[in-house]
Amino acid sequence: MKNTVKMEFLSVPDNVGLARVAIAAIAGQAPFSLSEIDEIKVAVSEAVSNAIIHGYHSRPDGWISMTAILDKQGLNVIIEDFGAGIADIEQARQPSYSSDPERMGLGFVFMESFMHELHVESTVGKGTRVEMQRFSRIQGELSRDVQ
C-alpha cells in the first residue's frame, strides 16, 4: 500500500491523459472505489491542464512534474510547473474566475470538490505547485478501529 511515484513530462495536451491513466493505476493500489478514482482523475486532469494552458501558455516544451504518494491515509498528489506563476492565488481560486475568457474558471473548484485538501503555492515567473490530498475512507475507518 505504501508507494511513491514521481513523473516528469512535457507540456503537451496528450500528457493530460497520461497523467490520468497513471494516477488511476496508482490510486488503484489503495482501497479507493472506482468512483473515487474517477474523481481523483478529474482533479489531476485540471491541475495538469492548468500547468499546460496557464503555466506554459500552451507551449509544448515546458516540464511538468507529478508526484504521487500513497500511504495508509490515502493519496497525496503534487503537480508542479515552472512557468508563468499566479499573481493572486485567492482570486484565481474563486469559482468562475479565469484569466482566459474562453475558459470557465472551474478547475480549482473541481480540485477542491474532488479532493479533501488543496494547497496552492505560486511565484510569478517561477511556477506553480498544487498539492492535493484524498483520504482513503476505508483506511480511515480501519485506523479508527485500531486506535
Partner: protein
C-alpha cells in the same frame, strides 16, 4: 476522440466516443461548430454513452455550443454517473436537459 453524426428530423444527433479533455476540446469544438453551421435550423443532441471522462475543458466545449446555439435546443443523452457528477457540479444540469446512460445501451454496444 471520434464522433459520428446523424441528422434526424429537426435535430443533429452526435455520438461522441472518447475522453473530453484539453486534448480533445479543440477537435470536438471544430467538428460541432461545422455541423451547427451546416444545419443552421436544427437542434443538437450529444450522445455521451461512450464518454468515460469529462473535465472543465470538455465542459467548456459543451457550454460554448449552448451559448452559440441560443434557442436552438441542446440536450445530452447517455450520461454516465461520473460524467453527471461533473456536469452537476458545474451547474450544467440546471440549464441543459441531461438523460442517463441506460444499462441496456451498454449491452447493445458490445
Amino acid at each position: 476522440m471520434t464522433i459520428v453524426h446523424t441528422v434526424q428530423g429537426n435535430r443533429i444527433l452526435v455520438a461522441v466516443h472518447g475522453d473530453l479533455d484539453l486534448q480533445t476540446a479543440s477537435p470536438l469544438r471544430e467538428a460541432l461548430d461545422e455541423l451547427l453551421d451546416r444545419y443552421r435550423d436544427k437542434g443538437l443532441v450529444l450522445d455521451l454513452s461512450e464518454v468515460n471522462f469529462i473535465d472543465s475543458s470538455g465542459l467548456g466545449v459543451i457550454l460554448g455550443r449552448y451559448k452559440r446555439m441560443a434557442g436552438r435546443g441542446l440536450s445530452l443523452t447517455g450520461v454516465k454517473p461520473n460524467v453527471r457528477t461533473v456536469l452537476e457540479l458545474a451547474g450544467i444540469t440546471a440549464i441543459i436537459p441531461v438523460s442517463d446512460a441506460r444499462p441496456s445501451t451498454k449491452d447493445q454496444h458490445v
